[in-house]
Subunit: 400 residues, 2 copies
């Protein structure tokens, strides 16, 4: 009994945290329920000019399958569904007419051959990465509708009538899904992509701003790693594996109409470039973060000789990223070049000139190696930060 009670509590907590993490999830669930109620009302007060018959089923099917979490996904699926159904229906009817010229038995054989050939070809097309990204759903629906029309038992006149009704029902279903998706608390996936990229820059900036103090002054925050509130030097880790989700979002965002600050042809591809630069920087930071936990391997005295330029580099790099965040937020390229990038580069130069004075002369090389690696990685990070800032500038230029 206690076990099942604990499970119930666990389950409830999971549900609550799911809703708390993103309250839009709760709203989306309401939206799906609402869209289905709209369909059932439509069925109840069946419009007199149009006898839905059993075809109401196709409206339900369309709403359940098309209404996705984001507007972009809903629009993409809805348009794919309507276009693919229309095309495949017309194509299927033509194939039937061609096949019907060859007698009763010939018709069955010919239809099967067409189904085999067309379904196989379209299935193969689904492997193309470019088609898969935007039109995968449409291609499946094409196969589906084509087979249904070709293999149907009905006579041609019945079939045409049924096909028209179904297409109309699917259009109505898609429209309901799209209207509900756009009109009630819309979730713009483009906005989400924008926020995720901005969030990733923020995480890197937090790491860089915190790194200097942590490495040189050993604040001992490294112990807080446990618990829910991840400290700054773990938060960036989600950036490392963000490639897949960014690519999916960018594809879906292209379906979205003008909303908020985003045009229809917003340069979504440039977000992927920014994302790649962010990840390159995150890989470097991953290598750097190892030394936070091992800062005691190098005596403070040795570390302190490069403390000032290193702290400057990481602080200015962090501030450069935050400056870049402002550009991303307002989508206006500032007329002046980012001052913190220049500062960070200057700090890197002064680190290099400190190193030229051989600050660790006479020290044990095994002890200076961690500090030397930190210096080297920081110098590399400045280049990465500059690349991120440039990519963001280009994004702001393209967006206007």
């Amino acid at each position: 009994l206690e076990k099942s009670q604990a499970k119930l509590v666990n389950f409830t907590n999971m549900v609550i945290s799911l809703g708390k993490d993103d309250p839009r999830r709760v709203i989306h669930s309401f939206k799906v329920g609402l869209a289905l109620i709209l369909i059932s009302i439509l069925q109840y007060f069946r419009p007199s000019f149009y006898a839905f018959g059993d075809n109401i089923m196709w409206a339900v099917l369309t709403v359940v399958l098309v209404l996705e979490f984001s507007v972009g996904a809903t629009l993409g699926k809805g348009l794919n569904r309507v276009l693919a159904t229309g095309l495949a229906g017309a194509f299927g009817v033509s194939i039937r007419r061609i096949a019907s010229f060859s007698g009763d038995k010939g018709k069955a054989v010919l239809t099967s051959m067409f189904v085999f050939f067309i379904a196989g070809t379209v299935t193969f097309m689904r492997f193309s990465p470019r088609l898969k990204a935007s039109y995968d759903y449409g291609l499946i629906i094409f196969i589906l509708t084509f087979c249904l029309v070709s293999l149907s038992d009905n006579t041609e006149n019945e079939l045409l009538e049924v096909a028209q009704e179904r297409l109309l029902t699917i259009i109505i279903g898609s429209c309901i899904a799209i209207v509900v998706s756009i009109c009630i608390c819309p979730v713009w996936i483009g906005q989400d992509l924008h926020n995720q990229i901005a969030g990733n820059i923020q995480k890197l900036a937090d790491f860089l701003e915190g790194f200097g103090d942590e490495y040189f002054n050993n604040l001992g925050n490294t112990e807080e790693a446990a618990g829910d509130n991840k400290p700054f030097f773990h938060r960036y880790e989600s950036v490392l594996s963000s490639k897949g989700s960014e690519e999916t979002m960018a594809v879906l965002a292209r379906w979205e109409p003008c909303h908020g600050g985003f045009r229809f042809h917003h340069p979504w591809k440039q977000y992927l470039k920014v994302g790649n630069q962010i990840r390159l920087c995150a890989y470097k930071i991953k290598a750097l973060s190892v030394f936070l936990l091992r800062s005691e391997q190098t005596p403070y005295e040795l570390r302190s000789r490069i403390q000032e330029p290193c702290t400057n580099i990481s602080m200015e790099s962090g501030m450069a990223l935050k400056e870049s965040l402002l550009i991303l937020k307002h989508m206006t390229k500032s007329s002046m070049p980012n001052p913190h990038v220049a500062n960070a580069k200057n700090a890197a130069e002064s680190l290099k000139s400190v190193l030229r004075t051989n600050p660790w002369e006479g020290a044990d090389h095994l002890e200076i190696i961690p500090a030397a690696t930190v210096a080297s990685l920081l110098i590399d990070i400045v280049i990465c930060v500059e690349n991120i800032c440039e990519a963001v500038d280009e994004l702001a230029t393209l967006a206007n």
Copy 2:
């Protein structure tokens, strides 16, 4: 005209390379065509004991949607579809019976309320990452079937008959899809996951085995980066973003029955752990690879002082990974510990003792920093390689 000709050539090349990259894609397309022909034969020689009627449609729908590239995905979708349809059908019929107690108008209102509530709840459940991974398709089909049954116009007796026929048709469709998927050149996603992990280890091993020569002897291969044949120091890059695909494969692999060397309860989760260790090593290698292009920043004379231990570390690490590959291939943990891991650790110790002799005494610190960083990263990589080997050993133990 020339433009369209060029496009056609491009398109043909793309199609050919799609097929060449993975010939199983062509076979899969044939399989889909074949499954649909099986359905159309079934319809033509309609079994006398069972009047499919228009329900043949559901078999087509099921085959098109369920027959996926891999056996795991097909089995998962097929089982999800059958179970969800059965459950949702039974549930929908009960709800209709409950609603029918409250008069004609009450019934419509009550049904709508149930649809709203149930569809909303199940939609919300789809956001749970754990349910989404394995049962997303089942949850959608549950909503779909439940709404179709609840909103249907038919009387209860008609409905029960239709529901039975449809369930049977869906079972037949799923069975055809599963049989075709398993019996004709099956694509086991578990095998694919195994191969991908092995391939990733191979890529790291190639990098490490090649690194020493390239960095210290400057073979100049770094120029070959262009062209299709990526050199060893770029091939590992695909490992960096492999997390998503590995997770998807591991989820699908769990549906697969015993095949080849894999049991039904093969430890697929352990593959993810191995994959994570591989990625941690790849991040380090990413940081290391920067120095391949910049080896000339440090005069050869300075580099040569750590050449022997560094070359040993990278060579032995690469060989340790290849030894681990053999364990992965035969899935039998060898009784002796991996000798190359011990060698690599020894090489790391001897690198440390070389460093203790302050090999670069008097040299410009700015010049020694890249070499020092390479040394430091190589010492870290030995730990990563050891972790990979341990994870593979654990996998081999769990698999038996």
